[in-house]
């Protein structure tokens, strides 16, 4: 069978904020860009981001990028790479002003400048008073950004492949990545997209967990594709649980709610965060607030008939502020739990939210792997940006408002690097048929009509296993059992079959391909978590409660065969002094 082929300078897999920011930069530089997305671009999960994007614009309180950098390094529990963090924080203001010029309808201050709100983990003067750094369009910032970026891409005439599912990366005989095999979902037909450079921007893997703020499409496809191409995944044990998902349902209630003055209470109506973080209180870092909530519930101070959640109070802000600044979360709360936060508190509990780990890259978005001479050798022509990547600016714990910033800054940086790469690599290379065949097998494997277990069952069990074995608190035995259970599920998946073998818009087939990806990510996550014998950021071990900088100030690298390696943290910033590890108090 000959597979139809298209050729572009650059293939971007993913049309979220990361992919679209990169596409725009490339299209404006007259490169031919193909953007592949399994959903129509504005349905990508960036659309769900609520609270805002960080930049030290100093529109409300005094601020500068260096303070932002300090907060980010501290927030990362010192696992973040300080060169990337400096780069991101310095670029932040420019990137946000660009967004504004693209048309993003930011909320405004009376001065006419962009509205900024307080978010967790933000300080002035290296740990001093609360900063106000998060630029917001009400509580729909992601929607506003994603739509504006898509709109400017329409203007720039980017080629979109909407509702195409990327199956696997394709290489030549020497192992250069030269694009991807994709499937047009509407027809079920394969297509080869050949490119001189490829950028992976497929977002996170929040579907690993049963209760999650993430969309059903967040299945870590790009990370799994990269693993299969022989590249390791970095720091996968660090998965962020957001303190305030709607209890039992998972919909996010943005940290911006606490930034606007909301706070958490337990069943004694106590503002308990004052005990855990005397200064920052409800605006401490996410890992800290999530653990505090879990402890309150575990010690019997949870609310509701099952005492299984805490309450987020905002009624004291008044109807006007809530309607103007937080209309989206008010609507969500009314829709999903029939509670109007103007009058009553919202039930919340820590909920799976963000994949800190991912595809290892440097600050140009180049994917880097360890080779003999160095722990970070770039792979020519292959890039990753956004939540699927690990630059690493978030280290062990991401600060709210830093992910939108990450996807924009590094989407743009990757595009700029690609523009240079294309100048030196003008011609397409021949594809390896073997690599095409291997990718096709992933698709045809699901045409097998013999009987077998259904995909859905395995998916539900996987999410439960991850929730029970790799959640806010972890220990050796629980994690070990988790690894065993995931392995059993993984074996079962090889024997799973579809009953629907039709071609046209076969969503069952897409879900099967997604589950295979998710399975590899689940393994990467539990195996990396089991190995790391310390507590750092979001990775909290009951059996190793302290951070251990002597042994563990290093990044994990997980390979598809289950092997782990480690590489040093880049502690040297670009121009300023290193922030050395210190105890983290808020």
């Amino acid at each position: 069978m000959t597979i139809p082929k298209r050729q572009f300078d650059t293939l971007i897999i993913g049309a979220g904020g990361g992919g679209l920011r990169a596409a725009l930069q490339l299209a404006q530089a007259d490169a031919s860009v193909a953007v592949v997305s399994k959903v129509f671009p504005t349905r990508s999960h960036t659309v769900a981001a609520q609270g805002g994007v960080n930049a030290a614009l100093a529109n409300v309180t005094e601020d500068n990028w260096h303070w932002h950098m300090f907060d980010t390094v501290k927030g990362s529990d010192y696992l973040g790479d300080q060169d990337s963090i400096e780069y991101m924080c310095r670029a932040a203001s420019r990137v946000v002003y660009e967004l504004e010029h693209f048309g993003v309808p930011f909320s405004r201050l009376d001065t006419g400048k962009i509205y900024q709100r307080a978010f967790g983990g933000q300080s002035q003067n290296f740990g001093g008073a609360q900063a106000t750094r998060t630029c917001a369009a009400a509580d729909r910032t992601g929607h506003a950004i994603l739509h504006s970026l898509y709109q400017q891409n329409i203007r720039a005439k980017t080629h979109f492949f909407d509702e195409y599912f990327a199956i696997d990366l394709i290489s030549d005989d020497k192992g250069f990545i030269l694009g991807a095999l994709v499937m047009e979902i509407e027809t079920g037909e394969p297509l080869l997209i050949e490119a001189k450079s490829t950028l992976i921007a497929t977002g996170g893997a929040g579907q690993l967990y049963r209760t999650t703020t993430n969309a059903l499409i967040n299945t870590g496809d790009g990370m799994a594709m990269t693993l299969r191409a022989g590249i390791p995944l970095q720091d996968m044990e660090f998965f962020q649980f957001h303190p305030t998902g709607i209890a039992g349902r998972g919909m996010l209630i943005t940290e911006g709610v606490r930034g606007e003055g909301g706070f958490l209470v337990n069943s004694d109506n106590e503002r308990f965060m004052e005990r855990y973080a005397p200064n920052a209180k409800d605006l401490a870092s996410r890992d800290i607030v999530s653990r505090a909530i879990a402890i309150e519930v575990r010690e019997g101070r949870g609310c509701g008939p099952d005492k299984d959640h805490v309450l987020l109070k905002i009624d004291h802000l008044g109807a006007d502020v809530i309607k103007k600044r937080l209309p989206g979360i008010r609507q969500s709360s009314i829709t999903f739990v029939k509670i109007d936060p103007i009058y009553d508190p919202i039930p919340v509990y820590p909920t799976a939210h963000y994949t800190m780990g991912g595809i290892p890259t440097n600050r140009y978005g180049q994917i880097v792997v360890p080779e003999k001479e160095s722990p970070e050798v770039p792979i020519p022509g292959l890039y990753a940006a956004g939540e699927c990547a690990c630059v690493s600016v978030h280290g062990a714990n991401r600060l709210g408002g830093n992910s939108l910033l990450d996807i924009l800054v590094f989407g743009r940086a990757a595009a700029n690097h690609i523009i240079g790469y294309l100048k030196e690599n003008r011609y397409h290379r021949p594809l390896s048929q073997e690599s095409v065949d291997k990718a096709m097998q992933r698709l045809t494997r699901w045409d097998d009509k013999s009987p077998g277990e259904s995909v859905d069952e395995i998916k539900n069990e996987l999410k439960k296993v991850m929730e029970d074995h790799c959640s806010v608190f972890r220990d050796k035995q629980v994690l070990k059992d988790g690894i065993d259970k995931v392995n059993v599920l993984s074996d079962r998946l090889t024997d799973a079959r579809l009953t629907d073998h039709s071609k046209i818009f076969n969503t069952a087939r897409v879900e099967a391909l997604e589950l295979e990806n998710l399975m590899d990510i689940a393994k990467a996550t539990v195996v990396s978590a089991h190995a790391r014998e310390e507590s750092r950021g979001a990775h909290s071990r009951v059996d190793f409660t302290e951070r251990d900088d002597v042994h563990w100030l290093k990044h994990s690298l997980y390979y598809l065969d289950g092997q782990l390696e480690y590489k040093p943290v880049r502690t040297k910033p670009l121009t300023v002094d290193t922030f050395p590890p210190k105890p983290r108090v808020y």
Binding site: S44, V47, A48, Y97, D110, T111, G112, H147, T507
Partner: protein, 231 residues
Amino acid sequence: MKLKIYRYNPSQDQKPKMQEFDLGETAPGMMLLEALLQCKNSDESLSFRRSCGEGVCGSDAMNINGRNGLACITSVADLKQPIVIRPLPGRPVIRDLIVDLSGFYQQYRTVKPYLVYNDPKPEVEILQSPEDRDELDGLYECILCACCSTACPSFWWNPDKFLGPAALLQAWRFIADTRDQATEERLASLDGPYRMFRCHTIMNCVEVCPKGLNPTSAIGKIRQKMLKQSL
């Protein structure tokens, strides 16, 4: 709980049929999308689009008991049973509840839905007063779900010529933005008997918009602005 769902797979079926599902007792507070996912669990060939599950991505627009809406924010408790679910009306069906929205997206592109700013860009933000920014509320929130356009009779009759409520709402979103510098071109491109003037203010669009937006009022404002300009 009982549902009747429109099924059609063009590669297998001569014509569409309605399939019944019975989910028995369901959890309180269940949303229709969760019910559909359960149906799919029992018959994996049932196809529909979905992603965010919270009414922000616009994927799962469908016709629910005769009215367009998003399954993920429609509570099943509020629906008469059996819940009858069909694809959005007036668009070619690709399969089951999935319709071809390419025409809808094309109309969106036609109104040049992007900010045009021709002056040299400042190093900082283009200033905008909170009052001017308020003009964009009720416009920028559109999630392109197509509930409105596929409920609009003028759109059914003239899908090639009439732009439909969603595209027109976006046209106004940029005209209303004090930062945009292409108002005249925008107004000129909407003139003529069809592109905008086919709207007969039937208000179906307003009634179904899951985000509570008001395309009819936006269309009215474009008309007013045109009138002012022509005076």
